[in-house]
Amino acid sequence: MPAIDILKARQTQVYEKGRDHFTIECNKKSLSGAVSQRACVFCGSRVVLYPVADAVHLVHGPIGCAAYTWDIRGSLSSGPELHRLSFSTDLNEHDIIHGAEQKLERSIRELAAKYKPNAAFVYATCIVGIIGDDVDAVCRKMTKELDIPVIPVHSEGFKGTKRDGYKAACEALFKLVGTAEPEAIEPLSINIMGEFNLAGEAWMIRKYYEKMGINVVSVFTGDGRVNDIKKSHRASLNVVQCSGSMLGLAKMMKEKYGTPFIRVSFFGIEDTSNALYEVAKFFKNDKVYEKTQALVKREVGGIYPKLLEYRKELQGKKAAVYVGGAFKAFSLIQALRVIGIEVVLAGSQTGTPEDYDTLKRLCNEGTIIVDDSNPVELSRFSLEKQADLFIGGVKERPMAMKLGIGFVDHNHERKIALAGYEGMINFAREVHATVTSPVWSFYRKKAWYE
């Protein structure tokens, strides 16, 4: 264990490759009093369902949960934008004492009348069960009355971790799956899961598959539509990105509809190419395979020379990576390697034991690996390992920059596409602009009067 004061109860969640030899503990509830970078069950559900753009997302609870998640993700829609609005039952003291089922009903009715959504997701927050509201019953009643699916999402914040929120979201989506039939069943068809169309990434990825001759039935949930989700059980394969968020749904669909799934990542050249080849291999179709080869060759060839230029300037720099899902960390480590950067700190909020085994394998000796970390650990390790760059989300940004460590946003709020081949170039450009900016020299050098 490195010599900084890690909270005792967290010592098995912090690991240094080459020095430590234990299994990293994970999927634990966050420790009280630690400033975890994680959110809660509600957050897990909200981020997964958020991009479904033709449904209303009604948060049943006091105002905070809805207010803090208003327009929080960079998920784009090619049509309706209901997901970018924030709806809350805004519970007050009276509601807490007397219950708020009536208010919930009225809220759903008002929203349905005003926005004519194709479905409604009703998120139960912390206190809903405690005040005795039967959200399931209200949703059943409103489904009948409004003739649209009104789906409860059991996302009480304290009932587990963010992963449990993913699960609740998957269960909610699964209620829609199989409730409509497509006009024709395409044999060469897939669903893309765990892709949220940040900065239009789902559109880029969809285009790749379409160029390969594959039909994309539904993207879960980027640029998502209720009707596509309903018909998604007729796809031949589920292509699942992102560690935890949608694997649950893929498993449920496999069990009920026999749809097989593969796990992929669309970050970095290697992983993006693998994600395309894996699908091509699955369909065992020569034409598809040839098209895939041509596509990969063209795309990689298009960006590789530029990447090498970046690499020349970035070679030898060090990065810290702390992200929500561990799968993203794997891809980032590889993508950074392509541009000459070594990862010295890697971690995730929601990794599983298997994820951490993979991380250990991917990382170099001396790399620190953390689960559910906090600002104290992250900043101290970044300094100790002399990171030039931190990749994470909004909460890590000021922490890193305060110390003169450049920052690249790789969270769900970003506005720059980082997926696929185009994304790799954007990523390299971002990293380059961050690491080579002259501003950091003022952080490191002493002021003239010091």
């Binding site: 970078q37 105002i63 809350s88 807490i96 009715r109 405690i130 000021p398």
Partner: protein, 448 residues
């Protein structure tokens, strides 16, 4: 029947305001007693405005905690915070969850103190901030009031310091207020002061708690102050630190408007003269003169322009007063809270200025602001950056001031207060109106 659903809320929950206020106390760390998500969401929300590291801990409730109570979690959290942050003060704010299950924070804390008897532990303070009661601004006031309740000692003395309770203003405003008090040459205690903790310089080493803030030991002396100044005309008396000190410690209280515009700033400086015994220093006379002169320079551009304003109640009141002073009209006023007498005060203000009666909302959301704006029309939005989408959809410019500013840099540095802050706001608003006029004109005028 009134609407049931809130759409695009203008207000945030009570613990957010409390967390912000506690950031202004030196060497203090805040813990929210509830689910992990509350702390993380509020950190993210505040960080997006201040662009500074903001640590807020959580007692991380589990299902067992929700059933058996949060005592054990709270104790563990206090232990962990003490060892990782070595704070002087731990401020614990409740949440909707802990309040709904009836968790008694003060009982848990006194048990903790008993358990730790004889050992050095930080000061601990608890505030009740259930998110279903009030909004972020109330949480802010509650936190400040609890601080003086907990720490103030003694009785008012004519030689004591001046207390200043500025409410939720920007880091730049706080720095400005300190320089004003300095210029009046009067000892003061400003609660809270997050001007350094939320807008500090670069660091060589990691600081678990950023330097700066009102010293905890200074809070005791709020009780012996010669007087208190609190910005706020519609604060609930129970949430007013100045009122508490007046009642319990005999400290005379001046509850005055947030000093924006000439009228409201005059009240502030007059109050300062009285309380300090120092007559208005020359620099402020000069700035006031420049401001009057600038009103003259700007009046043609802004006259009759109609504004849609929104934000915390007291902020809206002062902005409204300022805009009326320069000859603008109010089309819509959306107050995010339910301040005592907010609507009446606004109506009085408009009538006193013979102005157009705006649509006034209490506890409003952005849907209401949007509908009202559609009905009344307007030339300019004045408020925080959450109004951007409406301003864009109507193609009416937005001048971003207040909190939160999430889509521009520098929100923490906007100077709103005093003659000097008003000068800055005047330039901002006037130039935005000029910019709009230029961009709508077919001629590229280079003199306006």
């Amino acid at each position: 029947m009134s609407k049931a659903v809130t759409q695009n809320s203008c207000s945030y929950c009570t613990p957010l305001g409390a967390s912000l206020a506690f950031k202004g106390i030196e060497n203090t760390i805040t813990m929210l007693h509830g689910s992990q998500g509350c702390a993380t969401y509020m950190r993210r929300f505040l960080i997006s405005h201040f662009r500074e590291p903001i640590d807020i801990a959580s007692s991380s409730f589990t299902e067992e905690t929700a059933i058996f109570g949060g005592g054990q979690n709270l104790h563990l959290g206090l232990d962990n915070l003490s060892s990782q942050y070595e704070p002087e003060l731990i401020a614990v704010a409740s949440t909707c969850l802990s309040e709904t299950i009836g968790d008694d924070l003060n009982m848990h804390i006194s048990e903790y103190k008993k358990k730790k008897a004889g050992q050095p532990i930080p000061e601990i303070i608890a505030v009740s901030t259930p998110s279903y009661k009030g909004s972020h601004i109330e949480g802010f006031y509650i936190a400040v009031t609890e601080l003086v309740k907990h720490f103030s000692e003694g009785k008012s003395s004519p030689t004591g310091p001046v207390n200043l309770f500025p409410g939720m203003v920007s880091c730049e405003d706080l720095r400005y207020l300190k320089s004003v008090l300095h210029a009046f040459n009067v000892p003061y205690i400003m609660v809270p002061d997050y001007s350094e903790t939320l807008e500090g310089g670069n660091w060589k080493n990691h600081h678990p708690i950023p330097p700066g803030g009102t010293p905890v030991r200074a809070l005791a002396r709020t009780g012996i102050a010669r007087g208190s100044i609190e910005f706020g005309q519609v604060i609930d008396k129970k949430q007013s630190a100045a009122t508490y000190l007046a009642e319990k410690r005999g400290v005379p209280a001046a509850m005055i408007p947030i000093p924006i515009g000439i009228h409201c700033s005059d009240i502030f400086f007059k109050t300062l003269e009285e309380i300090s015994g120092t007559s208005l220093p020359t620099e402020f006379r000069q700035t006031r003169g420049r401001l009057v002169d600038a009103y003259g320079d700007a009046h043609k551009y802004v006259f009759g322009k109609r504004a849609i304003i929104y934000g915390e109640d007291d902020f809206v009141l002062s902005i409204a007063s300022f805009l009326l002073e320069i000859g603008m009209q109010l089309a819509v006023c959306g107050g995010s809270g339910r301040g005592v007498g907010f609507k009446d005060k606004l109506v009085d203000l408009v009538q006193a200025n013979d102005g157009e009666m705006p649509i006034i909302y209490e506890g409003s959301d952005f849907k209401e602001v949007e509908l009202a704006a559609m009905q009344k029309g307007g030339d300019i939005f004045v408020g925080n950056s959450k109004g951007y989408k409406i301003s864009r959809s109507f193609d009416i410019p937005l001048v971003r001031i207040g909190f939160p500013i999430h889509d521009r840099v520098g929100g923490q540095r906007i100077h709103h207060l005093g003659y000097k802050g008003t000068l800055y706001l005047l330039d901002l608003i006037t130039n935005e109106i000029i910019r709009t006029k230029q961009s709508l004109s077919s001629v590229a005028y280079s003199y306006i």
